[in-house]
Assembly symmetry: C2
Homo-oligomer: 393 residues x 2
């Protein structure tokens, strides 16, 4: 058996292990100092009660012969797809139920969707970038091009007509930068894709943090997207499902390439290589979209947004350039005094015992930048902000 | 973007839609006749109470900040991997925790594992066969060879040294035939694989139906398997998890091909393209392996086994050749009077209103055979057996 040699080309990332090592060393030397972690990429608030009750109710159903559920539809139950479809209609996007595929999260589907594409396609990813886009294509042996996201374009790169790409990754609100495309900017990408026979893989996992109604929460808010874009969304950040695993993927029925319909191909892929998301998890996800669920998750999202605002305010006060935080759980800042990413990491750890994520870990354009997140507790966020304020004064 | 053209080569199966059509037509013509379905491939008994309680307890934990769980390890929580490892040690198989990967079911992993293999490998599948083995490899463009499973080898084909295969699928107890390899037979496959640098993908989803202690429940009970086999198992049939989704895959650390370690490759694949199984589902799975859980699932498995025994007995009484049923939920019988599979389907439906699955739907060697399953209720199974007995007399 010949193994897939492309695995030899995947870069090893030492980002989070290096962070852990540095933090552990500091702790050992200074056991009395309280370290505050603002590098967390995971939610910290518990599931809301509407979801917990739905999960328990569904567990009870599964224990009774009359209400037991075995194999469900691989593409998800209609009760959940209808709720998702209604959610889209809130921002004027009309989707048919069979364009929505319930998934166990955006990460799985962002990787698995590549099954539908020939190896011989050129992939375009922005730098800095969520490493999964790069690694999954490296595993499949595809050629990868990078497009610069940097201060000169507010970390929102636009298409360059001289570049020929077939598969384009866009993430808005962005991880790691928190930058958000407006409709005019996304329209440029859609026009590029439609005229170059390219497909956009649109990662909207952070759309729930958008508060400005003018900013698009779905790529389908923009004309032309249904012939060139697949959208990946998730309940992970929206409803704290990082450990409960549910999301969805939208594959419009009008997506056709070389006479092949991607909606039908994805249905075939999923029915062959997937058995659907657990019934009780889908019932929990359904509860997110009830009025009670929406009220409860909005409270949680507001909590994180307030944390982001507090961090952003202290940076503004001290004239530290940053984006994100407003429509995103991430704050992306330029390291002061021209420090590089790791110098600033050490500087924060040594002086104020705050841990963040060096931007250089996300690509070359991340060098000199730093990511903070709003997923900490309010108390810790306030304490971190006070430490920063005092130290930067 | 160039789509994956291999999708054009996937065969469309009309097996289950044709069955549904025929049954609906019969029902419409004879609304008074009670149809008994013995074609069911899904469990019908509810989750046992140990699992339901664990699911509810975990849902509660997720609703409290102190016990909330976000992202878990992609390869599964240690609490479950330890239980699975103990389960293997019951039949003298020693596995390290990091050789066990918790999955959302055997079907997903049987498809996804192919990511680790080059396209340029020859695949060997028995005929008749679970269609997923064929379809997933067709999607990836691999060459597929078939090996005959038929009455002359008791539907347990053995390796043919003149065939050069790189990836070999074995399913024991088998779907659809219910045939079970003994240790000597599996040893022949292991020896073939080790001397031909081939890998065996061993589907053990039905191992829980084996009652004879001499028959292997895991391929790792046989010497040499850890250098040539990956094993896929599932709680679907064992504990009624078809709608709750949990299983596991064993990738031994000693699996090396061309200097590449498959255990490390699979870990990399899963951490990049998967986010793990929901925490509460893993807690439910853990409960299956407690003494109370084992007692409860054994009662359920005994229920299905008794159904299988009843079906097998009436076939034996009327001299109808069949295998399976003893260590498997499936009964695979030779259609009497040289009927072909679909003729026998019509014959049973018309005369005794029993629905089964035509063997021809699983491959050319299935022609002339028929699959019945033990997943119906006891009452219906008894009634079906009585109808058969009366009609065949």
């Amino acid at each position: 058996m010949k193994p897939n040699k492309n695995y030899q080309n995947i870069a090893q990332s030492y980002l989070f292990s290096t962070i852990a090592k540095k933090v552990n060393e500091f702790s050992a030397k200074h056991p009395d100092k309280k370290i505050i972690r603002l590098g967390i990429g995971d939610v910290t608030l518990p599931l809301c009660s509407a979801v917990v009750e739905a999960l328990k109710y569904a567990a009870e159903e599964l224990g009774v012969k009359e209400t037991f559920r075995g194999y469900g539809p691989e593409q998800g139950y209609d009760f959940l797809k209808e709720k998702i479809s209604q959610y889209y209609s809130n921002h004027n996007v009309k989707l048919d139920n069979d364009e929505i595929f319930v998934s166990d999260g955006a990460k799985s589907d962002l990787g698995n969707i590549l099954d539908l594409f020939d190896k011989d396609n050129t992939v375009l990813v922005p730098d800095p970038v969520y490493p999964v886009y790069v690694d999954t294509n490296t595993m499949a042996g595809r050629k990868i091009l990078y497009i610069d996201a940097n201060a000169s374009n507010d970390f929102l790169p636009l298409p360059d007509s001289s570049i020929k790409a077939d598969i384009i990754y866009l993430c808005s609100p962005n991880n790691p930068t928190g930058a958000v495309y407006n409709k005019e900017q996304l329209k440029k990408w859609i026009d590029y894709a439609n005229s170059n026979n390219a497909i956009i893989l649109f990662d909207s996992a952070y759309e729930c943090f958008i508060t400005d109604e003018e900013l698009p929460r779905s790529i389908y808010e923009i004309e032309g997207a249904k012939t060139c874009a697949i959208e990946f969304c998730s309940l992970s950040k929206m409803a704290g499902f990082t450990g409960t695993r549910c999301g969805w993927t939208v594959v419009p029925k009008s997506l056709e390439f070389d006479g092949m319909n991607l909606n039908k191909m994805w249905l075939r892929r999923q029915t062959t290589k997937f058995n659907g998301v657990a019934y009780l998890v889908q019932k929990g996800a359904e509860a997110v979209f009830t009025p009670q669920g929406q009220k409860q998750i909005t409270e949680n999202l507001d909590y994180y947004k307030e944390n982001a605002k507090l961090i952003s305010e202290v940076l503004t006060k001290h004239n530290i350039w940053h984006i994100g935080g407003k429509h995103s759980p991430y704050i992306w800042l330029k390291c002061p005094n021209n420090m590089n990413s790791w110098e600033f990491f050490d500087y924060l750890l040594e002086n104020v015992q705050i841990v963040g994520t060096p931007g250089a870990g996300f690509g070359k354009n991340g060098e000199g930048y730093f990511r903070l997140t709003s997923f900490g507790s309010r108390e810790n966020t306030i304490e971190a902000v006070e430490r920063l304020d005092k130290f930067l004064s």
